[in-house]
């Protein structure tokens, strides 16, 4: 028994020594740690396997060019498999390794970490995840959506529809959505707009896992016959919706999809780009390979004697990973500059994040302006449409019905 006691002590002592030792080693090197959560193996692996390499590649590119103001970045990536307990463990690990910021992955994971981030004073970014009300920097000081929330996407979708139809008055709009909190989130915005713009809104819920929506699509195309369809689906559901709508003869040019139904992979899985001619997608990062930063990444691989990774071909998700990394890097750059080159703390990086402005990466990024009150950075979107076998930009960075969204954020904050 004494032996057991001793070994227990020994193990804990050794663990403690290791833990402290590791902490000191990081403090000495001119190296900054970023935590990054990812899902390469869980239910959203189709996104993660492309998005996360985008993040890693951009950081590798920055490091290959000498880092940020002389600091190299070390990324600690943890695959949370879209489960909540591993996300908590990941956050604690990042904290232990002294991460100055972290990238979150997944809506329930973001929800579970909001409070921890605030207590531990480490900022987390959640582009495309989490609640829209997290844009309110006063309410969630350490959560940064940094990309258009579902509310902003709903505003953008309706602004685009309005442009297409000329006027929304008396028009019929169908909203087909995945029946979970994220799917229902845009409803307040759509209902508000239906009232103010005078269109008729009908909702069609698709139950999880979203691979069966024959009834809903038949209802839309056969009975309701809307002037436009707004789709907010995830996973396999977007490709099913494209196939079903096309199969029932509904013109895809009258469909606009939210950001998680907008990847090349979704369209290809539905039967290919040729079939989906006219399909409209909302994007919060630029699409395609025609950006200098992507060429630099490809060149970096070539210089190492390797082929650029095949993930780069799936530009929608890959570019979102690049965007996420670029925002992290800019926040760090601002923090280091503000400290005159000294090692920034997580608080400094938060201030750096809140002063991001005018970074565009040659058009890959929207004109983000993150402030202490607006953590969403403006809620910018682009619309890309399938034309002639590829996604073509039809509407450059814009904010749809911004006053309605800010009003909703304020209303939500006063409710709690």
């Amino acid at each position: 028994m004494m032996r057991f006691l001793k070994s227990g002590l020994g193990v804990s002592a050794a663990a403690a020594v290791l833990a402290f030792g590791a902490g000191e080693a990081f403090a000495q090197a001119k190296e900054v740690v970023f935590g990054f959560q990812c899902d390469r193996t869980g239910p959203t692996a189709t996104v993660g396997t492309v998005l996360c390499p985008g993040y890693q590649d951009y950081i590798a590119l920055i490091n290959s060019k000498g880092g940020v103001e002389g600091y190299k970045i070390k990324v600690l990536e943890v695959d949370n498999e879209y489960k909540v307990p591993p996300a908590i463990e990941a956050h604690e690990r990042f904290k232990k390794e002294g991460a100055v910021l972290e990238g979150l992955y997944g809506t329930p994971q973001t929800a579970a970490l909001n409070k921890k981030l605030e207590e531990d004073k480490i900022l987390g970014t959640s582009p495309g995840f989490g609640t829209a009300s997290a844009a309110d920097g006063k309410r969630y000081p350490y959560t940064f959506p940094i990309a258009a929330s579902y509310w902003s996407q709903a505003g953008a979708a309706m602004a685009f529809v309005k442009e297409k139809l000329g006027d929304l008055k008396g028009k019929k709009i169908a909203y087909i959505f995945y029946d979970n909190p994220a799917g229902k989130e845009p409803l307040p915005i759509l209902e508000d707009l239906a009232k103010s713009e005078g269109f008729e809104l009908r909702t069609f819920a698709v139950p999880a896992p979203g691979v069966e929506m024959g009834a809903q699509v038949l209802d839309i195309t056969g009975r309701y016959k809307p002037d436009f369809v707004v789709a907010h689906l995830f996973g396999r559901a977007p490709s099913v919706s494209i196939k079903e709508l096309k199969g029932k003869g509904y013109p895809l040019s009258k469909v606009v999809a939210f950001v998680w139904g907008s990847a090349e992979a979704d369209i290809i899985a539905a039967g290919g780009m040729a079939l989906a001619e006219g399909y409209n997608t909302i994007q919060f990062a630029g699409v395609g390979k025609d950006f200098p930063v992507l060429k630099e990444i490809a060149a970096m691989y070539k210089a190492q004697g390797k082929e650029p990774p095949k993930e780069m071909d799936s530009t929608v998700y890959y570019n979102r990973g690049v965007l996420n990394a670029a925002v992290h890097v800019e926040a760090l750059r601002n923090a280091i500059k503000a400290k005159g080159g000294a090692m920034p703390t997580s608080e400094d990086v938060k201030k750096g994040m809140e002063s991001i402005k005018g970074v565009t990466l040659g058009g890959l990024m929207p004109p983000l302006e993150i402030t202490p009150t607006d953590h969403e950075g403006g809620g910018w979107c682009q619309i890309w449409t399938v034309k002639g076998g590829k996604l073509v930009m039809v509407k450059d960075w814009f904010q749809g019905f911004r006053p309605v969204i800010t009003k909703q954020i304020a209303a939500d904050a006063s409710k709690s």
């Binding site: 006691l5 227990g8 002592a13 390469r40 990324v75 909540v84 409070k115 989130e185």
Partner: protein
């Protein structure tokens, strides 16, 4: 647990049923208590306490499920939903009525027990795979209800933020403080289960599991005990859900979906059905192994691969190794880690004179 038992002979049933099978066990427990209450929290980094916290919560849930599946022989794949029932009950009470955790926690458990009894009703008429499907229906109905009833879920986001628990004005907001909070409930759950199993109720559960017709013939009201098993098991699940809620600071039904039910079933099957130690080992195995594997792979892999490649390799490899290890352990010992531990112990009991 960690001792030889030569020279201990039991002459009465009372002695055989005692909570401490050996006199020396009291010392083992005292030492374990010393390690977990004093030495570990003072000596290790908060990160390791965070992992232990997750394990503690998992232990509560796994114990509950094991009472139902392992001891009573009824299957449930609705335990994730029972957790969400506990979570939302506690969250609503804590936010709307401002109740403290020592009221919301039992309330969450009781509400889950109530729902558990309703979902467990089919067990009176069906068993095995049929019951699995009936409880699966329970899981989906509860998920749907929470998603669509704003009165329960608190709005379209279906998530309710709860304040950190506080005890006499002492807010439990760090991993170290939450460690004691969760350790207390994990120990409570372990002791309660150990006592439950050696009581009349526990013996009735085991009789129902082994042969329900025979149990009925010897005078056990199997309807009552099956529902009781569902109630107790769901109570644990509800408490587990409340603990998650306080630990995360939010109740969100997406944290308790079908996959969670499956994860908990995996824990008790790997750990050992019908065993308290098995539930604990299973909870540790399923929570800890992915973390350990990742750290191992990171350290080994960083010698060969670049950071970007490594991240991709780790994710896949970890999953494959994790699955492989589950298969390996179940082939080596189909009755789980608990049996494996007992085999090792009985080997050393007579070592080095095995004949």
């Amino acid at each position: 647990m960690f001792h030889r038992e030569s020279g201990v002979f039991k002459t009465t049933y009372t002695a055989d049923m005692a909570l401490y099978p050996l006199p020396i066990a009291k010392w083992t427990v005292a030492v374990l208590a010393l390690i977990f209450v004093v030495i570990l929290p003072l000596s290790v980094h908060e990160y390791y306490l965070a992992i232990l916290n997750l394990i503690f919560i998992a232990i509560v849930g796994a114990l509950g499920l094991n009472i139902l599946v392992g001891y009573t022989g009824q299957i449930s794949i609705g335990h994730g939903a029972f957790m969400s029932v506990g979570a939302y009950t506690a969250a609503n009470l804590a936010v709307r009525l401002g109740l403290p955790f020592w009221l919301t926690l039992p309330a969450g458990g009781l509400m889950a027990a109530l729902i558990g009894v309703v979902v467990g009703m089919p067990s009176l008429r069906i068993k095995g795979l049929y019951l699995a499907i009936a409880t699966l229906a329970g899981q989906l109905i509860i998920e749907w209800t929470i998603n669509h009833v704003p009165a329960i879920s608190g709005g379209a986001q279906a998530s309710i933020e709860v304040p950190r628990p506080d005890l006499f004005g002492f807010v439990l907001n760090t991993q170290g403080r939450l460690y004691y909070f969760l350790l207390f409930f994990a120990v409570l759950a372990i002791v309660a289960t150990l006592n439950l199993i050696r009581s009349r109720i526990g013996r009735a559960f085991i009789a129902v599991r082994d042969q329900d017709i025979a149990a009925e013939i010897i005078g056990i009201n199997i309807y009552r005990y099956k529902l009781l098993a569902f109630a107790i098991s769901s109570f644990y699940a509800g408490v587990c859900g409340v603990l998650y809620t306080y630990y995360f600071g939010i109740a969100n039904y997406e944290q308790f979906q079908l996959i969670v039910s499956i994860d908990y079933l995996a824990m008790i099957i790997i750990g050992g059905l019908g065993s308290v130690l098995g539930s604990i080992l299973g909870a540790i195995f399923v929570t800890l192994l992915p973390i350990v594997l990742r750290i191992l792979l990171e350290n080994v892999g960083s010698l060969i691969f670049s950071a970007g490649e490594l991240a991709n390799i780790i994710s896949g490899t970890r999953l494959a190794v994790f699955g492989g290890l589950i298969i390996f352990f179940l082939i080596v010992e189909p009755e789980g880690l608990n049996r494996l531990w007992r085999n090792i112990r009985s080997y050393f009991r007579v070592w080095p004179f095995s004949y």
